[in-house]
Symmetry: none
Subunit: 211 residues, 4 copies
Amino acid sequence: MTKVPEEPEQQRRLPQQARSWARFNRILDAAAELFAEIGYESVTTDEIAARANTSVGGLYRFFPDKLAVFHAVVERYLNQLREMFAALHTEETTQLPLEVYIGQVIDAFDQFVTANPSYRAVFVQSRLVSTEIMAMDTAFNQEIAQQLSAFFALRNPALEASQRDLLATVSVEVASALEILSLTRDSKFQHLVLTEAKKLLFIYLRQYFPD
Amino acid sequence: MTKVPEEPEQQRRLPQQARSWARFNRILDAAAELFAEIGYESVTTDEIAARANTSVGGLYRFFPDKLAVFHAVVERYLNQLREMFAALHTEETTQLPLEVYIGQVIDAFDQFVTANPSYRAVFVQSRLVSTEIMAMDTAFNQEIAQQLSAFFALRNPALEASQRDLLATVSVEVASALEILSLTRDSKFQHLVLTEAKKLLFIYLRQYFPD
Amino acid sequence: MTKVPEEPEQQRRLPQQARSWARFNRILDAAAELFAEIGYESVTTDEIAARANTSVGGLYRFFPDKLAVFHAVVERYLNQLREMFAALHTEETTQLPLEVYIGQVIDAFDQFVTANPSYRAVFVQSRLVSTEIMAMDTAFNQEIAQQLSAFFALRNPALEASQRDLLATVSVEVASALEILSLTRDSKFQHLVLTEAKKLLFIYLRQYFPD
Amino acid sequence: MTKVPEEPEQQRRLPQQARSWARFNRILDAAAELFAEIGYESVTTDEIAARANTSVGGLYRFFPDKLAVFHAVVERYLNQLREMFAALHTEETTQLPLEVYIGQVIDAFDQFVTANPSYRAVFVQSRLVSTEIMAMDTAFNQEIAQQLSAFFALRNPALEASQRDLLATVSVEVASALEILSLTRDSKFQHLVLTEAKKLLFIYLRQYFPD
DNA sequence: TATGAATGAGACTTCATTCAT
DNA sequence: GATGAATGAAGTCTCATTCAT
């Protein structure tokens, strides 16, 4: 639980050259994997550097300390998720039947989690690694819930704001939990659980959104 | 109250005297708190001992190493949860209306989690701390899901086993996720979320259990 | 390399009762074995106590600290050796042919070392354990050499004192080294080496003691 | 000069640069001194590092643990002794009169021991430090005795092998013991004892090697 | 008086971070 | 700019010694 340096110094220098950028990303990839595999504290900066085919010194050119690497990993995930959700909420989305919409969201999230196997294991640690990162994480969850809540408002303007927020928060949590559950066994199980997740959310939400 | 395991060298010596027993539990309490607060790796054995009002040496009389302390913490939680579920599934339970049954389970779990605030944060770490503990954890989840599945069988013998198991697993996961969510803000929020959890599970499960 | 408490406190109380005395000796036996097996520093007071069928507390009733146990072990060996040498040097000994005398001494020493298998391994450590014990050890060697030198004087009064002392010292050292060598393999080897030792010393000493 | 071993993980990394090499040797020197002065167990890795003008971390770059340092110290001595003995046994040596040969060997060994004052105290510990090191030590002694035995064979082909081996083993032991003894007092004593050692071995061996 | 639980100093070892090359 | 050797603070665990029971 170390303090993180102030924003401007968060990353020592944004890589300006292609080579640097590649290395920067390799470090983040390596770090994400390792954090997921053995946990933040157990990962050594040497290991990250080695897996990223660079040296400790190389790592410290981009990040002021180990915590900053974790921070950057989390931030990259959040940005990717943000993009994903943005892509999902175009104007036309409002017109989709609830069932279809739910299916799209769950599938998109599933693709993300499948494509980023370390995502989940990294996130469960954020609370423990630093309060600042925990806050970032919580804020993101609320941001997503807000987006969903706004979306609900469009669908049913009669719904009270507090009610909408609650629905959104609960939905996000349930979707997230079942997505993670789906990954714990084979791909048949994965499919079954995701199907069940869609049914569950649909049956739950349709009370509030009569068509 | 809670059973203490005797795997070879899991624990060095079981407390024989009331005094020792108290110390043993103080260590477990302190450890659970600390693991939850700052994570397994960040906790030092000195800290655990200090918070338990004893010395490192005292800790090492009961546990061969730091990992064994974590193990014992997890095991104590699992045993407490087992007891709780056992108490919940008496003969009469089968007669209860589904809605009432769901309410009882969620309330019981809520009481447990409220009484053991470190529970969740300890569990999300088990995967990272040791594969053995992760396995223990996974096995427990399946044990609980099995119990629930068996209970479902009594309610609706027509349901296929695989179907029941899926329902049970999903329900446990959803209940768990929402319970955790309920604790993230104030007690009003807690109440709202738990109420929503009950509604959600009821509406989901009643499809399979007509009355 | 800790300082040893002054003589009067060397042993906390000389055991006055038979039971105490037995325990005292059991401790010394256990300690000698352990020191020989794994070395002074590696031996724990708990181990000594356990092997002597008593408790640490019991050990500390007889000895102020661990070093005092080592000290007592060494002292017991030295006293036994003193007795042995005294028994060997009666009046008549002076009349024995040199060859017979040498044979008697070597055989006696061999019996002692065989009967006290830990003796050697304990002694090689004394230099490292405490300077005081090292001094005790050195003093003993000189004491023995002195006795031998005095014995030489009786046999050949013409020999200069310094010459005698040198002969005695060298003889003790050689006998000791070969005795230890004899123990490193099987009993056949032991016999061969001891025989060789007798021949070696005889051929060496007879120059100075013409019959 | 001295060969450095490369058993798996015996040493972490061989020094590549002159600077590192110097540090490596400083560590070995410091360690040898300390082991001789206060014994393996009493030496701390911090002390070794400090006396070698480096940090603990520096020590652990070269050696995986404290035991490996001891191992390396012993190995360095053995290699130096091997070199010494090899240099002593050229073709012409066979022609030397026995008395001259004995004188050369004892003087060479004396030079080695004088130049390496920690040698003896390190070796008497090997038995206690690790069985592997003890074995290495024993094997070396036999290697030397074998060499000597082979040399005896050239001098007197009529001698039986077992007889030769015994002579060689006894001679090595006696030479070694007296060399050690010679170092326990002043240089006058040293000279006297070494002279006596030469006489002793000559008178003993000449029986078997009638010029 | 005997026992063995408790204490805590201190040992070994790791690893984040720096900096000479 | 890149490398990786060096530093040393800090963590885990042991064990001599004490003392309540």
